[in-house]
Amino acid sequence: MADTQTTEFTLDTASVLASEEGGAEIVGRSPWALAWRRLRRNYVALAFLVLFVLILISCALAPVYAHHVAHTGPNTNHVADTFTKNGKEIDVLKAGGITKGANGETILVPAGAPVGPQWFSAGGKYVLGADLNGRDVAVRLLYGGINSLKIGIGSAIISIVFAVILALLAGYFGGWADWLITRVFDVIWAFPVFLLAIALGTALQVGGLQLGFTTLQGNSLWIPTMIIGIVLIPYVARPVRGQILSLREKEFIEASIAQGASTFRVMTSEILPNIASTLLVLFTLIVANNILFETGLSFLGAGVRDPEPSWGNIIQQGATRLATAPTLALIPGIAIVLTVLSLNIFGDGLRDALDPRAKVKI
């Protein structure tokens, strides 16, 4: 860390920051406190953390306030309804249809184009416009955010928990356990993951999933959560296993074993705390990755099912109305980019802060 020679290639920003703190100050501080010190100075990462928290809160609290603003629920159709803007009645979906003219000719008035964003000029209604069923996009966006975040976070937890258990078993025991687990990973690795996930998602939608103790309906949010969580386990487990392998060689573990600590104890009190920072960084990045994964699945109709909103399936609907209602597909996309970007930037900053020399990659 003291190596601060100035060449024309300066070192990583974070390590520069770390070295600026000076050796004296570092003594006697816990690694977490040090990390926090470093993170505090990374304004960009903090700003995006705030952004993410804002998105999270505004989505999570949607059931509390959305109805008071928009006067409608996420799944309430307003196909033939109107709303008032500046004293004028406006159709939520454009009216039209086919009629016969005076000479028997067919007159067609194309219909169904949803109304675009009203911002706040219609008393909180249709702030971001309507979708194909006349549902309020802003409300669906918030509720869709709940679903997308639930699945992103839920599947990340599944991936991490299983990956850590498997990686601990493989990395610590080595031998046949390691062999077996890495072979299983090899197989999952060889799968075209996205293809596997959409195949599973589509197939499960028809019949649901019978687990021993419960039955998941085809439209359950657990189905995409589990699919994404499971197919991504090896992607998390591989870097974790690598780290455990290198930790095993460290003196303090050997010392602990020599003192007669049980395997379980070594794993929980020596190894786990040492991979905790890696896991935290991985978690942020995996949540980001899984939100992208989920929206992709839902876009292809293999994730969250209408009428349950998700950012992905709102875009799917919007894709059929790009010419007449472009915001329908644009806005959820921007929501995805902001959420995923904020997680990625924060995760990046977190990694620099926790361990400026780490090379965690997913």
């Binding site: 196909v79 249809g97 000719e105 067609l108 009428p307 059929t320 109305r321």
Partner: protein, 563 residues
């Protein structure tokens, strides 16, 4: 998925049961429909016939098509396939190539004339035209017909149901050996004799569809779509790459058969595009002359305002309706079913269809002479709510079944929302097209309420009410009466009307009563819309040559270019 297959299922010409021999040839003409079948936003293009446009040949007609199921006439069962191969593979009989209800008239194709039918309606005798040749030069023999029908059973064709009444077909379908005894052919005399076990009034109609096309006897019993088969019609298949392209060219060995013109384009160059927007673009940028797919609702306004003369609307006889399962709660209660009919706002659903539709409350399509406009159900949520309360089923959980593609998806979501508003707890369940109909047609599914539609095979009320609502035709699986409608009085009337040889005014009135009863008295179904189709052409195409056939839709052989 944005993919929107246009699978217009031509179903159940086999629907008609026994005892209708006199009806046979007349079922098309009997329609005598009041309004033309084809209408268009442009002033021209109505009521043309193939023969009127003859002789305006041009080099190649480039079309953008949807993926057909098959081009093998033994397997194809969609308009996507039939619209092309009906000009390639002829059978003993065919349909008159003309606009309007006249298109349902059966004409002799490879047969010299319409057959002689025995008095009991069980025996049909045909004679082939002399000197017929396949496109590869081999002569067409009477025994080829027998082999072609037998091949349907060998390839597990979805059309075998049409031929089950032939004597010996049943045995053959199991053993696949020894031939169908009810088909007697004589190659020298060029005669074909078909013996039916039970009379079947619509048998001539069946012999006119591509399933009954005559193929060489040696045709392998497997899908030959990509290889193409020796043709008997004015065109033959040159190439077909599934999901990509196809080429049909003139059949050099075709000698003109009266009523089946040689056609104008020398070549049909097809590009298969599986997305509406991309398909439309091929015509707009001049890479194609015709867009088979429906104009995406997103672009309809633009196309209509900029290219009005190139856009044709047509009305295939169809009805979109919600079927309610009278065997499962809550729809075993009349009030519950009525509630649905009152609750849905039909004009609203038109918006979900992009405007390409007309509201209806009738089960029969409006072009039928049996159609008497029903106007009972004015959209009334309060009344619907009260009916739900009366039925004692308020709060019940309901699964609304539908297809996971437009326009079904938004429509089903709309219906679920409406059912929630009137006191039930509804959730939509959306399935892929390929599993949907077998799922709701299976009694084990116990589907409560579902999205479904019907397109005519030929204009006759039997094709609708008998196939879809007759309580005697309910089956355990592959049930077409998805709502299990079973009302003794109505079923009796259907069976009685089935025996009527001609659609006279009094008979038509009885059909209209049935139509009314099913929708109003029993409220077994909730019809809401007749959809409108679009045909879109490049500016080089002469709209004057356009016509739309009652069964096979747009006739590409009759089209011509602007001079």
């Amino acid at each position: 998925m944005t993919r929107k297959p246009r699978w217009v299922w031509l179903l159940s010409v086999c629907a008609l049961a026994a005892g209708l021999s006199l009806f046979a040839a007349g079922c098309g003409g009997g329609g005598g429909s009041k309004s033309g079948n084809s209408s268009s936003t442009s002033s021209s293009g109505e009521g043309g016939t193939a023969s009127q446009n003859q002789g305006k040949t041009f080099a190649s007609f480039r079309v953008t098509w949807d993926a057909p199921d098959y081009f093998d006439p033994g397997l194809s069962y969609t308009v996507t396939g039939w619209q092309i191969i009906q000009h390639v593979y002829l059978g003993l009989l065919g349909y008159k190539e003309t606009a309007g209800p006249g298109g349902a008239t059966v004409i002799p194709a490879l047969a010299q004339s319409l057959p002689t039918v025995s008095a009991d309606g069980k025996d049909y005798k045909f004679t082939l035209r002399p000197n017929l040749k396949f496109s590869d030069g081999t002569p067409v023999k009477a025994s080829d017909f027998k082999a072609s029908i037998e091949r349907l059973y060998k390839v597990d064709s979805p059309g075998v149901g049409f031929f089950d009444q032939i004597v010996g077909a049943d045995t053959f379908s199991k053993t696949k050996k020894g031939g169908i005894s009810g088909l007697v052919v004589d190659d020298n005399a060029r005669t074909v004799e078909i013996k039916l076990a039970t009379p079947r009034g619509d048998f001539l109609n069946i012999l006119g569809i591509p399933f009954a096309a005559i193929l060489p006897a040696g045709t392998p019993p497997s899908d030959q779509s990509t290889k193409g088969l020796p043709a008997t019609g004015p065109y033959m298949q040159q190439s077909y790459k599934p999901n990509r392209s196809f080429v049909f060219v003139r059949n050099p060995n075709y000698t003109e058969i009266p009523g089946i013109p040689k056609g104008n384009p020398d070549k049909l160059l097809g590009t298969i595009v599986s997305e509406d927007t991309a398909a439309l673009q091929t015509v707009l940028n001049g890479k194609s002359d015709y867009d088979f797919r429906t104009i995406p609702t997103d672009r309809l306004a633009e196309v209509q305002s900029k290219f009005k003369d190139q856009l044709h609307l047509y009305t295939p006889a169809n009805t979109y309706y919600f079927a309610m399962n009278t065997r499962t709660p809550p729809f075993d209660k009349l009030e519950a079913r009525q509630a649905v009919n009152y609750a849905i706002d039909r004009a609203a659903i038109v918006r979900l269809f992009g405007g390409l539709g007309v509201t209806t409350q009738n089960f029969l399509p409006p072009t039928y002479p049996q159609y008497k406009k029903i106007d009972t159900y004015t959209h009334d949520l309060a009344k619907a709510k009260q009916l739900v309360k009366q039925s004692g089923t308020a709060g019940m959980k309901i699964t609304v079944w539908g297809l996971n593609e437009a326009p079904s998806q938004p429509t089903v979501e709309y219906l679920a929302d409406v059912l929630n508003k009137i006191g039930w707890k509804a959730t939509p369940k959306l399935l892929a097209h390929d599993v949907y109909f077998t799922t709701i047609g299976n009694q084990a599914t116990k589907a409560q309420i579902m999205y479904t539609d019907w397109y005519q095979d030929y204009p006759h009320p039997l094709d609708w009410i008998d196939v879809l609502l007759n309580g005697n035709r309910i089956t355990e699986t592959h049930n077409n009466n998805v709502g299990n409608a079973k009302f003794a009085a109505a079923d009796q009337l259907i069976e009685k009307l089935k025996k009527e040889p001609e659609l006279t005014d009094p008979i038509n009135n009885q059909w209209a009563t049935l139509d009314h009863d099913y929708v109003v008295k029993y409220s077994a179904v909730a019809p809401y819309l007749n959809i409108e189709g679009t045909d879109f052409f490049s500016k080089d195409i002469d709209a004057g040559c356009y016509y739309n056939h009652v069964l096979f839709q747009f006739d590409w052989t009759a089209i011509c270019k602007k001079s």
